[in-house]
Symmetry: C2
Subunit: 347 residues, 2 copies
């Protein structure tokens, strides 16, 4: 390893590192239509269809804690977060490959549980498990999943297509998965030394479900297709709304305005935020792992999306020079900053 020149990764973060390492890559194969930098790569093997490829790696202790995440849930979630990347391109996930590295403390029954979750997610989303690799790890569990999907030619939606005056939409509600994580962490600490003590999660079931068993929004993609709406830009919200919106703005070379009072929050999220003395909007803007869809549509589609089930208009796209801002309830404009959940940053 490099001992003489040493620049810490935390100085540029995860996205900075990927950009730094891949900015000089120019595709040489004609099938490669879009490379690094979006929810998925776009490949083209025929005239009718685009093939989408995305990959995610989940590390024990960073992305999950097996003291409160059952392996079946982990399997389910590992698949779902990948499907979500394909839906975020307006595509349909079709196949996955699954690589797992596991330490000696895992047994066959553990892997059966993990695969039971994987298979359930695949069944629900009509996805085939087509390959993988199982190997040893000296320490924790590492999971890497690659998903392949398809979209009709020209229908893949990148992050870079948002235009001034486009409307900004969000599916579902935000911040609940983050609250679920806080809840689990709190109960883990509280019950750590008391064997047999079962934490009481009554009235907070939704938060737990959002954290442990998230869903990928296939339904929203279907609804958009039925309504004949093709988003101009789209991505899934895995690192928090602020962070994702800034990606869209950067890649589309635009700015944005979103409105505090439009950001969808479930009442369980709001109650939990109050309990923890946190600002609920900060949680909704920066909490990760919601796997909701963030997308922009032309203003002409206003009526269609305004009446769409489980879709909320949260703001609009503006010129790049106006920057990205949140308008608070009392009308103050605050610059949007990415404080999202990023495991590469030192906390």
């Amino acid at each position: 390893m490099n001992e003489i020149n040493r620049t810490e990764i935390s100085t540029i973060g995860e996205f900075g590192l990927i950009e730094h390492l891949t900015s000089d890559i120019t595709p040489v194969n004609q099938e490669t239509k879009l490379g690094v930098g979006d929810d998925a790569a776009i490949l083209q093997f025929n005239d009718d269809e685009e093939v989408l490829v995305s990959t995610d790696m989940l590390m024990e202790g960073i992305h999950f804690d097996l003291t409160y995440v059952p392996l079946k849930h982990l399997g389910y979630k590992s698949a779902i977060v990948n499907f979500s990347d394909i839906y975020a391109m307006n595509g349909t996930p079709k196949q996955i490959t699954v690589s797992i590295a596991l330490g000696k403390r895992f047994c066959i029954e553990d892997m059966e549980d993990f695969y039971a979750g994987l298979k359930l997610a695949c069944e629900r989303h009509n996805v085939d498990i087509v390959g993988g690799d199982t190997t040893s790890s000296l320490t924790g569990l590492a999971i890497s999943i690659t998903v392949i999907g398809t979209a009709p030619k020209g229908k893949s939606v990148k992050r870079s297509g948002a235009k001034t005056t486009d409307l900004i939409c969000v599916s579902g509600d935000l911040g609940a998965a983050y609250m679920g994580l806080q809840l689990l962490e709190r109960e883990k600490i509280a019950t750590m030394d008391q064997e047999g003590v079962q934490p009481d999660f009554a009235g907070k079931e939704y938060l737990l479900e959002r954290q442990l068993k998230p869903e990928a929004r296939r339904d929203i993609i279907e609804r958009l297709r039925e309504a004949n709406v093709t988003p101009t830009a789209m991505m899934d919200i895995s690192d928090g709304l602020s962070s994702e919106l800034l990606h869209i703005c950067k890649q589309s070379k635009v700015g944005c305005r979103i409105y505090e009072d439009k950001i969808p929050v479930d009442y369980q999220t709001a109650i939990m935020a109050e309990e923890l003395n946190l600002n609920v909007i900060t949680c909704a803007l920066n909490g990760g792992e919601d796997y909701e869809l963030l997308f922009t549509v032309p203003i002409a589609d206003h009526e269609k999306v305004a009446s769409m089930k489980d879709v909320r208009l949260v703001g609009h796209i503006v010129k790049e020079e106006l920057g990205a801002a949140l308008i608070t309830r009392d009308g103050v404009e605050m610059e949007l900053k990415a404080q999202g959940w990023n495991p590469m940053k030192s906390k």
Copy 2:
């Protein structure tokens, strides 16, 4: 984790585990032509071409040791082992995605080195890096690469097509990568407490190169195409000739005979085996990471492959009931057993 029912993974091994977990999977998408169980999955998105997908996971301490593997070499090798899986299907690698999880001891310069190796391998094999994921690890380095390739329709070669009387061929020579590993391990122990001591590898450069900078046999695939030879079965030799040949026999429902005196071994491998007091043929049969190609061809192609550069005929396929055996120099028939390099087995 499962505390009540607990069956150790070592009882069935890596391949047993994958089979156990995936045997009940039936593809639901029409594009999925071949799932788990070969070097790559086969997908079909158009009428002319098959799309091949394969994935590999490399874990620090299991698959590589950073005390003697430079990160640039590791990047190169990580890509090459994946390309090899696509060549082993008679395909051409086109794109890869790269996921890396890294601990705090790695810096930006380390990742630049790793990517320099990756990019060099991609350049040489005309492959595009189209995506990836970079995240943290609490401990060691974990690398997961997925490769996508193509083959003309009907030209992908599976493990299951070998027929009685087919000839068994091997490219290059075997056992050298394993010897390189032994050499590095020995020197690591010898120089561990002596800072500044440089081990002397004179006369063993080939062994080191085979271990640290293996090549994927694109040239053999091209030669076969030029000679108009389509193998009936093929795979790459990553776990040792015995182990791979048994895979082909099992999946093709055939037996085999290979001849000790036909197995290609480099003289550096032979010298090193003698130094270490090891049987060189055992090393050639069971040493891993050669990334040579093992394939079977119809007996009618005998002349074409017999004269092919860097290809050796090592035996032939027989009926299943005759089993898999090695014929020694003195004419004794010994049952072939997979003792290959398998990181899932307890050693």
